[in-house]
C-alpha cells in the first residue's frame, strides 16, 4: 500500500482546466518535489490535497484512505499540515500563540473549561502547560527564541516563513506540504531553510511535499520530482531523470540549457 498517492486528479474552474491526469505516489519519509512554471497548477494541487478545493475527478489516498473532498480541518486532523506561498499567519498573535494555535487538535479545553476553570492545576492550565512545552521544542528547533513573544505581523519576511513552518510542525503532521518555503529569501536564509527541511525529514520522519522554484534546492534534497505545466504532468522521476528530460527543460526553462546554469 502506498503511503500517499494521487490518482487521476483533475479540477476545472469554469472552462479552465487547472489540473488534469495528475498521478504520483510518495514514499513514507521522503521528500517529493513538484515543479513547474508559474500558473502550472502547483498550488492548486496543494489546495486539492488539503481540502481547500474539491477536485472534480480522481482520488487522493493517504494511508489507504480517500481524503479528496474532505474539509481542511478534517484533513489537518488526519495529519496533513501545510504552509502557504503568501504567508498566512495570525498576524495579531505572538509567535508563541501562533504555534499554540497550531496545537488546536491536541487540546480538549472547550468553552466552559477554558472560561471557568482557572489555575495552574486546572484541566485547561495543565493542558496549556503541556502544549507550551511541545511548542517550546519547535521554537528551539527553528531558532525562534528571540521572537517568541513578538507579534508576527511585525517580524521580517524570512522569520515569518519560519514561524509558518513552525505552526505547521505544531500539528505534528505525517505529511507536510511546503509551498515555496524559500521564496523571497536571501541565500543565507535559504541555507537555513534547507537545513530545517532536511532536519524535519530525517529527525521527525515527516513526509514532505515541496513546491519550489529554486532548482538547486529541489535537485539537492528531493527523492522524486513531478514536473507539471498547464495543469498536466510532464514527467515524474528522480532528479537526474527530470534534469535530463527535454520536455521539462523546454517547459520550465523555455530553451535547452542545462539546469545547472540557471541555478
Amino acid at each position: 500500500m502506498d503511503f500517499f498517492k494521487v490518482e487521476d486528479l483533475g479540477i476545472s474552474f469554469g472552462g479552465l482546466v487547472a489540473l488534469e491526469d495528475i498521478n504520483f505516489s510518495v514514499n513514507k519519509g521522503s521528500i517529493f518535489a513538484i515543479i513547474g512554471p508559474n500558473g502550472a497548477g502547483k498550488t492548486t494541487l496543494f489546495n486539492c490535497i488539503n481540502g481547500i478545493y474539491k477536485p472534480d475527478r480522481g482520488r487522493i489516498l493517504f494511508k489507504g484512505r480517500e481524503i479528496q473532498g474532505k474539509k481542511p480541518d478534517r484533513i489537518a486532523r488526519l495529519g496533513i499540515a501545510r504552509t502557504f506561498q503568501n504567508i498566512e499567519l495570525f498576524s495579531h498573535m505572538s509567535t508563541m500563540e501562533n504555534l499554540m494555535a497550531g496545537r488546536h487538535n491536541f487540546m480538549k479545553t472547550g468553552l466552559f473549561r477554558g472560561s471557568f476553570m482557572w489555575g495552574r492545576r486546572s484541566f485547561s492550565g495543565r493542558e496549556g502547560i503541556a502544549n507550551r512545552r511541545k511548542v517550546e521544542e519547535i521554537i528551539d528547533l527553528l531558532d525562534l527564541q528571540s521572537v517568541r513573544n513578538k507579534f508576527v505581523g511585525s517580524l521580517p519576511y524570512g522569520i515569518q516563513k519560519q514561524v509558518e513552518l513552525g505552526r505547521a510542525l505544531a500539528l505534528e503532521p505525517e505529511v507536510l506540504l511546503l509551498d515555496e518555503p524559500c521564496a523571497g529569501m536571501n541565500s543565507e536564509e535559504k541555507q537555513d531553510m534547507i537545513f530545517w527541511v532536511k532536519d524535519i525529514q530525517d529527525e521527525l520522519g515527516v513526509t514532505i511535499l515541496l513546491i519550489e522554484h529554486d532548482m538547486k534546492m529541489v535537485m539537492d534534497i528531493s527523492e522524486r520530482i513531478l514536473a507539471i505545466n498547464f495543469g498536466k504532468p510532464i514527467m515524474e522521476g528522480t532528479p537526474e531523470e527530470v534534469q535530463k528530460n527535454p520536455e521539462v527543460l523546454k517547459a520550465y526553462l523555455g530553451e535547452e540549457e542545462g539546469i545547472g546554469d540557471i541555478a
Partner: protein, 349 residues
C-alpha cells in the same frame, strides 16, 4: 525557577503582586463606592456595568472573531423579555431565569451564525441588522411580551434576600460582571479564543490547522449573544420596565461604538469603551445644566437649530467625541492605554 511555572505565567490572571494589589484595591473601591455617592451615581454604575457585559461579549464577536453584528439589541431584548417572562410565567427564580434567557439568546445567536458562515463585512451587517429589527417587531406584537405596552418586572428575590434598591442590585451586578469579564478574558487565552482570533486573522490558515469554521463561527455568535442576553436580563431590572421601542437600531449601534471606541480585540478596551460611552450618554443629558457651557450651548442651539435643537446637542457632542477618538487613536482607548504604558516605562527618558 521550575519550567512549569514559566509556561503558565504567560496566561495567568495575576502576572505579579502589583497586579494583585491593584485588583484588590479595585474590588474594595467597587464594594465601598455605593456608600459614598448619591443614588443617581449607583444607577449610573449599574447602567455602565450592564454595558460592560454586552461590550465584552460583542468584542468577542467583532474584535476577536472578526464578524460584525448590528443586531445585538435583538439579543439584548431576548435576554430582557426572556428573564421577565420566565419569572412571571414559568415562576423561575431570578438567576435561573436569567441564565435561561441568556441561553435563549445564545440559541438565536447560533441560528444567526449560520447565515454568517457565508456572509462577510457589509453583507453580514445588513443580515444582523435585519435580525435585530425583526426581533423588536415580533416582541412588540406578541401578547405574552405585553405588546407595545411593555412589561413591568416582578419583585426581585435571590434566595432569602429581597433586592429592592439600586444599591442591592449594584452588588449583584458587580459579581455577575466580574464573572463574565474574567470568563471572557480566560476564553481568549485558551483554545477557543485562539481559534476565534485565528479565524479573524486568516480564516483559510485557521481551517488548515484544524479549526472547524462552521463550529467556531456559530459558537462566537452564540457566546456573544449569551453575554448580550445576560446584559438584557439585568437591564430589565435596572429600569424595572421594558418596552419594545427601547431595543432599537440605535442601541445596537451604540454597543458597536463602545467596542470600537474602546479598542477592538481587547477586553480592557471593551470595558473602557462601555464606561466612557455610557457615562457620556447619561451625563450629556444634563449638559444644559452645566453653568456657562450649558447656557452657551442653549443660545447656540436656539439661534442655529430648530426648536428640537437643544435636545439634539447631546447627540452632536456624543458623535463628535467618537469621531475625535477614532481620528486620533484608531485603536481606541486601548491604544491610548498602550501608549501611556510604553511612555511611563521609559520615563523620564
Amino acid at each position: 525557577m521550575d519550567m512549569k511555572r514559566d509556561y503558565y505565567e504567560d496566561v495567568q490572571l495575576f502576572s505579579s503582586g502589583v497586579v494583585v494589589f491593584w485588583f484588590v484595591l479595585l474590588m474594595i473601591g467597587l464594594a465601598l463606592f455605593p456608600l459614598f455617592v448619591k443614588n443617581y451615581y449607583v444607577y449610573m454604575a449599574n447602567y455602565m456595568v450592564i454595558n460592560i457585559i454586552v461590550a465584552v461579549g460583542l468584542n468577542l464577536l467583532v474584535g476577536y472573531t472578526g464578524q460584525i453584528s448590528l443586531g445585538h439589541s435583538g439579543f439584548f431584548a431576548i435576554g430582557a423579555y426572556g428573564t421577565v417572562v420566565f419569572m412571571s410565567e414559568a415562576h423561575f427564580p431570578f438567576l435561573l431565569a436569567l441564565i435561561a434567557a441568556g441561553l435563549a439568546a445564545a440559541l438565536f445567536g447560533f441560528l444567526l451564525g449560520i447565515p454568517a458562515l457565508r456572509l462577510e463585512g457589509p453583507y453580514l451587517s445588513i443580515a444582523t441588522l435585519g435580525f435585530g429589527l425583526t426581533i423588536t417587531q415580533v416582541i412588540g406584537r406578541a401578547n405574552i411580551f405585553g405588546g407595545r405596552q411593555g412589561l413591568h418586572t416582578p419583585e426581585l428575590y435571590i434566595g432569602p434576600w429581597h433586592l429592592n434598591s439600586d444599591v442591592d442590585f449594584y452588588y449583584l451586578l458587580i459579581v455577575i460582571t466580574l464573572i463574565l469579564v474574567l470568563a471572557g478574558r480566560n476564553m481568549v487565552k485558551t483554545k477557543v479564543g485562539r481559534a476565534f482570533i485565528a479565524i479573524r486573522d486568516a480564516d483559510i490558515a485557521a481551517e488548515t490547522i484544524g479549526v472547524n469554521l462552521t463550529c467556531y463561527k456559530t459558537l462566537a455568535f452564540a457566546v456573544s449573544a449569551f453575554y448580550a442576553g445576560i446584559g438584557g436580563g439585568l437591564y430589565a431590572f435596572v429600569l424595572r420596565f421594558i418596552e419594545p421601542e427601547m431595543f432599537g437600531l440605535m442601541m445596537s449601534i451604540i454597543f458597536l461604538a463602545m467596542v470600537v471606541v474602546g479598542g477592538l480585540g481587547s477586553i480592557f478596551g471593551a470595558i473602557a469603551g462601555a464606561c466612557l460611552l455610557s457615562w457620556l450618554d447619561l451625563e450629556l443629558r444634563n449638559i444644559l445644566s452645566i453653568p456657562y457651557v450649558g447656557q452657551w450651548l442653549e443660545a447656540l442651539s436656539k439661534s442655529y437649530f430648530s426648536i428640537t435643537g437643544v435636545s439634539n446637542i447631546q447627540f452632536i457632542i456624543y458623535g463628535l467625541i467618537m469621531v475625535l477618538i477614532m481620528l486620533f487613536e484608531p485603536l481606541g482607548i486601548y491604544g491610548f492605554w498602550i501608549r501611556t504604558k510604553i511612555y511611563w516605562r521609559t520615563w523620564p527618558f
